[in-house]
Symmetry: C2
Subunit: 332 residues, 2 copies
């Protein structure tokens, strides 16, 4: 079995994963080959509809709907993992460079037995089961002491990188913390050291007063378009109470989060005709769960524009849509 | 005239540009509308083939081919600028947030009169004229004392964000330096303070010894796949002599750069069947041109994969291709 590798970019401090199970030859990327590739979106070929029932040994978690005697969600190991827990977690020097073995976990959360649903169309109890699944796997994965960070994310639609239509999310647990995350920690730390407060809590308070970027709220969560949204109709969903770590979510908060997540995604679904999107749950890395300046949130990025050379080269986004206009559109 | 704005993301320290000339309403992004939108790739509708001759007052630079009495390259103001030099360059507080007016320059370099060419198919003297054009505009734009940074980039193909087929590059000059760039400066500074050397010079020396990631070289430039490439067949072209600032490029280096740029892009063009790609010239911001730890380079990113939720959320790339394999493929 080929081993995976994570390499450090010496000039940016960023990591890149090279996964053996996803490996392609350069010629596989020829434009004509690309066009021929996968239509894995039909139910006929769907591995989550077909195979999963036969390979029960691979099921890491299953949440049942006791009333209907059916499963609601299942978690399985990703068939083409980016990281693998069979690797020996070890850092290596390669001349002037540093690499790690590709240690980690990569799991798939199958969100429903129904191939044709998505979060916008599922019921709130069904979405609660998904959040419950995230939470149980999050706590389980953080028990692996090698793991520094758990990233829960969802790709919806081909333009957002989804290779299967069947509703699913993914969880990647790794033994590195990206500089991307450390930079946000440092920004929040500086703000806390200056103002003595959590920058995210201050943003929430400001947005709830201003109201112009708020889409909706319930007793425990707020859904809003951030002031400096990078993408048209970008949405952040944030717990109102200070909470650095997604692992600390309470039962009551799970229900409130499921409710606001469904409502936010339904607005995208119906108002923008089911756009492609990604969401990620940004949460504290290991050892940061109790920090007073960090705050978890779910970031939803509709994939309505194509970042080009300027964005890739500068790290500056160009957003053709105005956050206040997006919020009004999504609110009404 | 609506004014543009640049907003600071308070939790990441990154800037986002809101350009009035590019503004859309949220409903314009509905999937069905997207599918109907522009085919601006045909010659019949090409503004660079048609209109440009009538609006000579907008031409900022023109390089002539004296032998053939034709123009080789032209520079015009972007019709839909991301930034605008009519804005008053000014910072504002909006409650807890910071914004800037959208001050800056946004220019288009029309690289050839021929609609159907691209850099891979142009002659070396024609590409030299493009590099000469970049250089002249770079020096000119840096004379505007408000400008902190000039970004020269090229989008090739729809998947790389190009809206027109006619061969062209773009130049954006802004009065902000993105945190993206400051982070690279800090990494290079730390390396210099530890080792007393430029990290980019050390990478070049190491790569020229190792050879496994080098695609080709000439007397003044090296073209290689970086050790931690984020994209399949990513290519960096770097001057062999230490040079922080693209503005310092010599006449001899322009020829050598044109030659290696054509050869590198031709390899992508012929071996991968004309893939979409972006390139950007990463060069020093104002006041950094003489720094011993910075080094300009041209970064070519083929757009063969779709970054998904994990990449957007973590800042960690997943590259299905191995840099050494890519380099061998492009070398042969």
């Amino acid at each position: 079995m080929e081993t995976g590798q994570i390499r450090l970019n010496k000039v940016t401090g960023e990591w890149v994963i090279y996964a053996p199970s996803r490996r392609k030859r350069p010629q596989d990327f020829q434009q004509s080959n690309q066009a021929l590739s996968s239509d894995n979106h039909s139910q006929k070929n769907c591995p989550f509809c077909l195979q999963i029932y036969k390979e029960s040994e691979k099921i890491l978690l299953e949440i049942k709907d006791y009333q209907q005697d059916l499963w609601q969600t299942k978690v399985v190991a990703n068939k083409f993992p980016a990281l693998n827990f069979h690797e020996n977690p070890q850092r290596n020097l390669e001349g002037i460079y540093m690499s790690l073995s590709g240690y980690g976990h990569h799991e798939v959360v199958i969100e429903s037995p129904d191939h044709y649903q998505t979060i916008a169309t599922l019921s709130i109890p069904e979405i609660e089961a998904i959040i419950e699944t995230y939470h149980q796997r999050y706590l389980k994965l953080m028990k692996d002491k090698e793991i520094m960070m758990v990233i829960i994310f969802r790709n919806h639609g081909k333009g957002a990188g989804a290779s299967l239509r069947h509703p699913h999310s993914q969880i990647i647990a790794s033994n590195i913390v990206p500089s991307h995350r450390r930079i946000q920690e440092a920004e929040a730390q500086r703000y806390f050291d200056h103002w003595g407060r959590c920058v995210y809590c201050d943003i929430l308070e400001f947005e709830l007063n201003e109201k112009i970027r708020v889409i909706l709220e319930n007793n425990l969560f707020v859904s809003f378009v951030p002031y400096a949204a990078e993408f048209p109709c970008e949405i952040w969903i944030m717990p109102k109470e200070h909470q650095a770590d997604f692992g600390s979510i309470t039962a009551e908060e799970k229900t409130a989060f499921a409710t606001i997540l469904k409502d936010s995604l339904s607005r995208l679904y119906y108002k923008l005709n089911n756009p492609d999107y990604n969401y990620v749950i940004n949460t504290a890395a290991r050892y940061k769960a109790e920090e007073p300046q960090l705050h978890w949130y779910c970031q939803i990025r509709p994939r309505l524009t194509t970042p080009a050379g300027f964005e890739l080269g500068s790290g500056i986004s160009i957003n053709p849509s105005i956050p206040e206009v997006d919020a009004a559109f999504l609110r009404e």
